[in-house]
């Protein structure tokens, strides 16, 4: 029971004396205070929530553009100067040939890295995915919080919530695509942003 809960929500996996062996003291406290029946319903509730809560879910899937590559809803995170931001977007490769995202540039960006965030036993880690991002034909590649993202590193200017930044995306086949990405604390609401 508790194992099932803590696997869903591993609050932490090592720690204080109050910690159950399975980790997940939040889950443990629920189980203790509400009993098995309620924690069962908590599992069901959480099962419904972990995947797509908080409006982070991608909007209804835009159909792949026919015979072209396009970028849907790019946005970046705020950052302090000298800090890093992350770029999120959906890349829709509607063509029949593979393409590759080679680079993302803007005057304020020093360098980029392509990362995948992974949760190893409650510890969050950003794993490098390589220098470039492969975009198979007739495929959408989604970059989103807590998952794949392009790191915009060592910024020379702050990126402030509510403003936006112009980015040049360099694709091997398509060439340069210029986009304006809003700077946001969290994902844009479902649907298009104006």
């Amino acid at each position: 029971m508790i194992d099932a809960l803590s696997k869903r929500l591993p609050v932490r996996s090592g720690g204080g004396p109050w910690q159950g062996s399975g980790g997940g003291s939040w889950a443990v406290s629920w189980a203790v205070s509400w009993g098995v029946a309620l924690s069962l319903s908590a599992v069901l509730l959480l099962a419904g929530c972990t995947g797509d809560d908080s409006g982070d879910a991608p909007p209804d899937e835009t159909p792949l553009p026919s015979s072209k590559l396009d970028v849907d809803q790019p946005w970046v995170r705020p950052a302090a100067p000298g800090g890093n931001s992350a770029l999120y977007m959906t890349i829709l490769n509607g063509t029949s040939t593979p393409d590759t995202l080679l680079d993302v540039t803007a005057p304020v960006i020093d360098s980029i890295q392509i990362h995948q965030t992974v949760d190893s036993a409650g510890t969050m880690r950003m794993q490098p995915l390589g220098e470039t991002l492969p975009l198979p034909p007739k495929t959408r590649v989604t970059l989103e919080p807590g998952a794949k993202h392009v790191m915009l590193m060592n910024l020379s200017q702050p990126l402030t919530d509510g403003e936006s930044i112009v980015l040049d995306l360099d694709f091997a086949q398509k060439g340069l695509l210029r986009v304006r990405a809003p700077i946001r604390v969290e994902a844009p609401p479902s649907g298009r942003e104006s």
């Binding site: 609050v11 910690q19 995170r77 890093n84 890295q113 949760d119 969050m124 807590g146 402030t160």
Partner: protein, 202 residues
Amino acid sequence: MTRFAAFPLLAAFVLAGLGAGCSQTLDPPVQDDLDDTEYTLTTHDSTAVTFPDGYSGDVLVVGYVYTQCPDVCPMITANMKKIRAALESTDGVRFVTITFDPERDTPSRLHTYRAAYGIDAPTWDFLTGRPETIDQLMKRMGVRTSRTSTNPNAPADTTDTYFINHTDQITLIDARGRVRGEYMGSRTPPKYIVEDIQKIRS
């Protein structure tokens, strides 16, 4: 042993059981009492503050980040913003974001970062401190961190630029400095944390 002697003994057991039960009835239960600790930290405005004593009397929602972290840490901060927005009243509730990268996250850097994230509430401090202090605090709060080079090809001991692998956590502390909740910072839906805040406040 006679039955007469056994009876009061039994009664004592029952009472002891009840007593033990009473201390457990707090909901959510106490997970740690920070009464024995005091960490001297510095706010984004370069003001000294003790944690958690300096905030006693208020319920505290604590998040842990470093400002070079663009993916998970902003999810934690965004979650805290949602919790704050979902509260009918923020009276008696304060928010605190503590960096686990004190060497780079100076007060002025935290100041810029906080502003970039559109946080201007006087009841939401960003805190840094001496590395040893932060280290002890993170250990006590159960936040584990480890450095990793930003250059995937660099030798492991490179120290110039680094990312930090870290526990993803929000901690809820009651007005008396007791830990009452630990959540997955970026992923626990805000409503569960809001529910616990309401319980602690009532």
